[in-house]
Amino acid sequence: MIRVQYFARYREALGLDGEQLNNAEDFATLDDLRQHLLARGGVWAVLAEQNLMCARNQELCSLAEPLAEGDEVAFFPTVTGG
């Protein structure tokens, strides 16, 4: 199982703050998981943005990051704190 969270503009665009995916073994990397979500079409195209950021287990990472059962991942737009 992989827990996925969406934040800020993405959360609003998707109308969803998170979900659980039960087929963790299908995703070798975070990008595999993203491609799976993009294939849903429609509003999910927001995850194709160039400046998308992502995290695995609450640490920033690249889309090439490998995934494992039990991971918690997050997708979000460029951060704007400070």
Binding site: A55, P77, V79
Partner: protein, 151 residues
């Protein structure tokens, strides 16, 4: 090291003083305060909401503070970041660093802010006359963070 993510307001002057009171070996304290402006990207801003990623936010700020402590001989470091509803003129963020000498405190403070702006999971949503809008990341913030990776 003190990291706080909170909805409550804070007093930047009191935070700055507290950084020095802790240690008489401190020769320099540098403080940065970021405020909510009433104008951004050509529009008046009536206030904002700051969203964050609870858990990751505290972790990432801690990691940035730790890295600053590895790069410079700091005696103390404090990061306060507010979340939730904020009005123009209110402080959003405080970064305070203390050291025996000024340069380490200056540099570490700038480093923490540059990294915080590009790596800590906060998102601003502003209120304007045309409605609410998400603030977009700036290339200049990315460039500011990258300058610390050159050496």
């Amino acid at each position: 090291m003190n990291i706080r993510v909170q909805t409550l307001a804070f007093d930047p002057g009191a935070e700055l003083n507290a950084l020095h009171a802790a240690n008489l070996g401190i020769g320099a304290v540098v403080g940065f305060v970021g405020y909510v402006r009433d104008f951004n990207e050509g529009r008046e801003v009536g206030g904002m909401f700051l969203e964050h990623f609870p858990g990751m936010t505290e972790k990432s700020l801690g990691k940035i503070a730790e890295e600053a402590g590895q790069r410079w001989p700091l005696l103390n470091i404090e990061i306060i970041h507010r979340v939730g509803r904020l009005e123009p003129g209110e402080p959003i963020v405080f970064v305070g660093t203390s050291s025996a000498h000024r340069q380490a405190a200056f540099d570490a403070c700038a480093f923490v802010m540059d990294y915080l702006k590009t790596r800590a999971p906060f998102w601003k949503k502003e209120d304007t006359a045309e409605g609410q809008r998400w603030v977009e990341g700036r290339c200049s913030d990315q460039a500011a963070a990258e300058r610390w990776q050159k050496d």
